[in-house]
Subunit: 288 residues, 4 copies
């Protein structure tokens, strides 16, 4: 993800300084002209715009606030842009710590996954004040095609986890609907066509159909390899659940989808694409 | 529903014979030239194409197979078209009884609800053999704009309940997503825009948004009056559940949506539009 | 199940006439003195009290109302006792057909499973009028230790499926509670002791604990072999769901438990004891 | 809760120093001989054994670690006993802060609610090392009848939220089972008797039955007033959910019970006893 984004920034003429805990991730970029930092703190001393892409809340906290973290080296006025998918609370916490150092922090998670990162067609959902969002727009548009200002810091993260919760609900729902249709004697392809001209249509039935052989070039047609892994959507659903618990919002289907993806993780589907829920719920005789 | 459909058939020049348990429902049609039957059996003796639109499985069974029912008066070769939303099993059962009398039965439930019935833009999902479907197409197109052949008898009903199960999942999911977004500080209108350009979009977020003030001319903006009542989608979800139990298909989100609409029915929402689930899950302070 | 029950009746001095679709099931009983019938109708002509134990509603319908069924041979005044676990609706339907032939039908499903059948400690939940229940009590007490009169015909079946729905909820709930405790660092055995002196206790935590090594002589300690199979509780939960849908009763946890057991059936647990839900929800690293 | 516990300690001859944000809560105790502290810090300077009972994690953090908190006045070697129901994580966090000040922190939440506090029959679930637990046992037994050592610090809290999650599952499950039984024509009192001699029994069916008129002196018989409020069990279920998300444990029924209690909170049941879920799921006609 990160290396695709870095590549596009370099293609647009930006000089990069990069840091990753895996040195080999940096070598490829260095070969193309990027400079290598020794630590997040070192990187912060050498840059005035910093973009991070990390797997979890605790990584974000450590990279920004830990020993040798970004904030221990950051210069006044630096623009800090975190594109990780994390809890809005963590974004707000790191934002406060950044302000104490005179830096500006924005959350800017992306939608679109690896293919969109490769094609520079990501959508950025950004939390921060309007002027700050304006200031980073040019940079983000090197890597994507849409920048949506969602509100104050944390709202980019909030929008991302809300969208992904709905995505999971759509995927589980479409999968169980097409499986039920099949069991009732309907061809899933025909049922998909009916959904897509009816009130049951969604992004999942139209663009990312979970049944093998309906869409083209999808994980469903490749034994659910590649794509958006079950363990990753389970993580995003966990973020949504924590946030929902904190703000007292009932999310019955989001919560149940979370449970299902957690069960799938525990039953051999962790690294399969999240559309493999179609297979998980399928009857034994239909699984081949 | 039925009277709108009858009206369009008359507009296209068809001479109707009508029957309803509520005499006043027939008077309006009689004023415009329809003849009135004394019973379903009487109607069957006078017509060779019959269309029924009834609320539940047991009504369908009674109207066709009961005393003075259609089948006690039906002529050989009559085309029987049932547009009720019922269990596929019941369609198949009535079909067998019809064949024993030499008549042809097809299930042809509709999507689009009352507004589409009024505008003659219904979609018919038809179960029957190809030649029979062809034979009734002209008649259906007087009342709608799409005729989809789904497979053998019962498959129209199956497609209808599958679509409506997914519709309910989309509605509950979109409602909880927009409510969570609001609780996290995002404007539901902005969140809707984000969903609609992202992987979380569905018919519900785009066309029939449950948040007051986002879509135009929707029940959400009119205190959830009109539209598709909670008690009706609860009924359709019950049909989906019975069918899923019979064919051993897991439907976790469909099942939970069914439970939620049943709870709503028991807590004052029975006659509200089904998008009122947004209000049902809302926090007390947000309900005004 | 049935052969254990038959054995106890013979032990108490009753002369039996038996019928089973599998001839070998009858041979063992014949060796001990039972007579063999050629069909349910034949059996009905030779007996004035008949007990049936069958797997599903359609078997019950066929054995009583089918060709060569009990009702085609039944004598006036015969007491018909069905101990199958079926939908209350089916019991009532067969009851009406029996009355039309002058026979008396009662539903009398059992709780206690095979070990209780073997030990003659079954509990019978009986639906019928008080005098009829009194009339069959002596017979039932040959095979069990409790006879509970639940109400009119069908209420024995209703009580049985209600109890089993709650049993499933208790089993899934206890399993997820003990798994959560374990993940939080508590010993499941200690957590069981705490539950059992607290408000979280249930039959499942006390008598039929799902964690290997806590209870004695349980399926949990034998790789979940033997016991009450996942596919059988899934069937009972399906009966509960159909009944709940018919009478408009919300059963959120019963419904979700049904879905989980259905998913287990489709993922390799069909013939495991129903306490294997503990394993199904366990984290991969904990499964060994 | 707290004042009942304090009373028992005084009855057993202990001299108390008390602190509460509501002065009137202290007056009653002062009238009976307790001394009044000016702040948690003041109290800490005057005592070597301190017991706290607080509503949420953030209250615990503030009372111990905030300005004028216990830890700003605590003496070396003081035994700190927190009986609040909170997240195990918070207990561990406050424990570490206590150790840094040379004090000993144990979590010791209770089961039994107000009636047990009044009767001094609470059960304490304690996290800490064995010697420390031994050291506080005499004090806890002034207020309760059981002290269970659950493991390291945080395990008392873990045991409490696990038990309460199972309690909620039992309550919702028993309620929907008894409501389904009623709809199928069974008397809920008879169904309760059947459950209680069968595999569907639980603390909820035996001791705290949700149906009005079955148990004696229960909230169910008093329009669900008093008892354990919906908003409090919703809080405990939120703690269980956060913990389950953190440790990746699937809790499908616990999660759904959480959602239901959250929905009840938003629909007029916030201050009703948690057994009012029976009323929430009841059909409109049955609610009277």
């Amino acid at each position: 993800m990160g290396s695709n984004m870095a590549q596009h920034l370099m293609n647009k003429g930006h000089q990069l300084v990069v840091y990753d805990v895996f040195p080999e991730a940096m070598t490829a970029l260095a070969d193309k002209g990027a400079l290598i930092a020794q630590s997040p703190a070192d990187l912060a001393q050498r840059c005035d715009r910093i973009i991070s892409m990390l797997p979890t809340c605790s990584h974000v906290r450590q990279v920004y606030c830990g020993d040798n973290g970004v904030l221990s080296g950051v210069k006044t006025g630096t623009l800090l842009i975190d594109s990780s998918t994390i809890d809005p609370n963590t974004s707000q916490e790191v934002c406060r710590a950044s302000q104490a150092k005179g830096a500006v922090f924005l959350d800017a998670p992306v939608s679109g996954a690896v293919p969109a990162a490769r094609a520079a067609t990501l959508t950025f959902m950004v939390g921060g004040n309007a002027a700050e969002v304006e200031a980073i727009k040019e940079l983000l548009l090197c890597m994507g095609k849409n920048v949506i200002h969602c509100g104050a810091v944390g709202s980019g993260a909030a929008a991302k986890i809300c969208n992904n919760m709905m995505l999971a609900i759509g995927m589980v729902g479409t999968s169980e609907t097409l499986n039920l249709a099949k069991r009732l004697g309907l061809d899933p392809k025909l049922m998909t066509q009916i959904l897509n001209v009816s009130s049951g249509r969604s992004w999942t039935s139209e663009v990312y159909n979970p049944v093998p052989g309906i869409g083209e070039n999808l994980p469903a047609g490749n034994d659910y390899k590649g794509g958006f892994m079950t363990q990753l959507i389970a993580k995003d659903l966990g973020l949504a659940q924590s946030a929902a618990t904190r703000v007292n919002a009932p999310t019955p289907l989001g919560t149940l989808s979370h449970q299902l993806y957690r069960l799938m993780k525990n039953n051999g589907y962790a690294t399969k694409d999240f559309s493999s829920v179609y297979k998980f719920i399928q009857e034994l005789e239909d699984k081949k």
